[in-house]
């Protein structure tokens, strides 16, 4: 696998983008907690197939996505359930409901697998979207590494999700293997993937590269990198989130 390198892009791109994306590509190829390396890379292929999927296009245009039946245009040998998760979350995130999620769980996907699929797909999406927006060819996906998933499940999990659909770690985790994830208390969006703690680590790593260090999240004034002010960052974030139909 070649290293991700943006030095030949049309624009000067700070080096930590390529560094962060390379770190994630290495993680993508390796066995995860609940998915093999091959499955993780297959998730990435499916993310790239979702936007060209005929069924997703029809569903997106429909008043309700549940009015349209059919088969996804898949690019992998992942199960139909995982393909449905990836395609729906990528193409129509603003209309996901608890009923949809419960239906996925009834099809035999474990909630741990669901969280890892979700964490993997969104990291791929953010890197691919970065490239798309700068007119850079998408990075070649890595060759998967052999090995079995660790099947690690943390202790101190709130099984009821404290209102979320998925179990999440307690808000304060000041000891044990997950104590590195955040300091003190943190928001739901950071805890959302914490049933698979590595997904939080990967997410926070890319968060710092693309947006802001989570430890600086409450610093709401100033300019984190001296380019955009926090206000300017937040209006971009707000507009993107609105167009995704995201309340959070």
């Amino acid at each position: 696998m070649g290293q991700i390198d943006y030095s030949n892009a049309d624009y000067a791109i700070r080096s930590d983008f390529a560094e962060g994306h390379n770190r994630y590509w290495k993680r993508l190829a390796a066995p995860g907690n609940w998915l093999s390396g091959a499955e993780r890379v297959a998730v990435a292929k499916e993310v790239r197939a979702a936007n060209a999927c005929g069924l997703c296009t029809q569903r997106k245009a429909a008043l309700s996505p549940y009015q349209v039946d059919g088969t996804h245009d898949s690019a992998s040998d992942l199960s139909d359930t995982i393909v449905e998760v990836i395609h729906r979350v990528i193409t129509d995130p603003g209309r996901l409901t608890k009923t949809w999620f419960d239906g996925i769980m009834q099809q035999g996907l474990s909630v741990e697998q669901y969280v890892e699929v979700l964490g993997t797909m969104v990291n791929i999406l953010s890197i691919d979207e970065f490239c798309r927006a700068l007119d850079i060819p998408l990075n070649t996906l890595p060759e998967p590494e052999a090995g079995e998933p660790s099947r690690y499940r943390p202790a101190n999990i709130s099984e009821d999700g404290e209102g979320a659909w998925v179990p999440i770690l307690a808000n304060v985790v000041d000891s044990g293997p997950e104590s590195d994830l955040w300091d003190g208390r943190t928001g739901y969006v950071i805890r959302a993937l914490s049933l698979v703690p590595d997904e939080v680590r990967y997410m926070l790593d890319l968060l710092e590269v693309h947006y802001i260090d989570n430890r600086q999240i409450w610093n709401v004034t100033g300019s984190p990198r001296g380019t955009l002010s926090r206000r300017q960052m937040e209006i971009v974030a707000a507009r993107v989130s609105a167009l995704n139909g995201c309340f959070y």
């Binding site: 953010s126 970065f130 997410m203 380019t227 167009l243 995704n244 139909g245 959070y248």
Partner: protein, 145 residues
């Protein structure tokens, strides 16, 4: 976080229209027009519009700032899906602090807003009297570091 930052700086900025793609300028935020037009194009399918808004942003704010805006936009493609794919509720103090803003912007009508349950009157009192003042103090301290 946007409004908290504005208030901390002692400014007053009308955020009405922030979430409306037809609104392309927020008075009081420099280069808001270039940023919002870029964000609209980033979320659309028109490659030419994306290229044009990227060039305008780079010309007005510099290439580094334009690349950082791409970083932010691509990050929120991710964070939105984490929130909506896990059905997380809004954090209660933040939800209460932004309740009027959500109503004004219409974001309380989004499907994902249903993941946040109404806050009981007792909890609202506790949040307003104890939790929110503490949180504002933390925000002020962190922002002055």
């Amino acid at each position: 976080m946007l409004r908290e930052g504005i208030e901390l700086d002692g400014d007053s900025i009308d955020l009405n229209g922030l979430t409306d793609p037809a609104c392309t300028k927020i008075e009081g935020i420099p280069h808001s027009e270039a940023l919002l037009r870029f964000a609209n194009a980033f979320m659309g399918d028109d490659k030419k519009a994306l290229q044009e808004t990227r060039e305008i942003l780079a010309k007005e704010m510099g290439v580094e700032a334009m690349v950082d805006a791409v970083g932010v936009a691509s990050n929120f493609q991710r964070m939105d899906r984490i929130a909506d794919g896990t059905g997380i509720p809004s954090d209660e103090p933040i939800a209460l602090m932004q309740e009027d803003l959500a109503k004004m912007l219409g974001t309380d009508q989004y499907i994902s807003a249903g993941n946040t349950k109404p806050i009981s009157w007792l909890k609202r009192m506790l949040l307003k009297i104890i939790v929110i003042p503490q949180l504002k103090k933390v925000i002020k301290e962190k922002s002055n570091q």
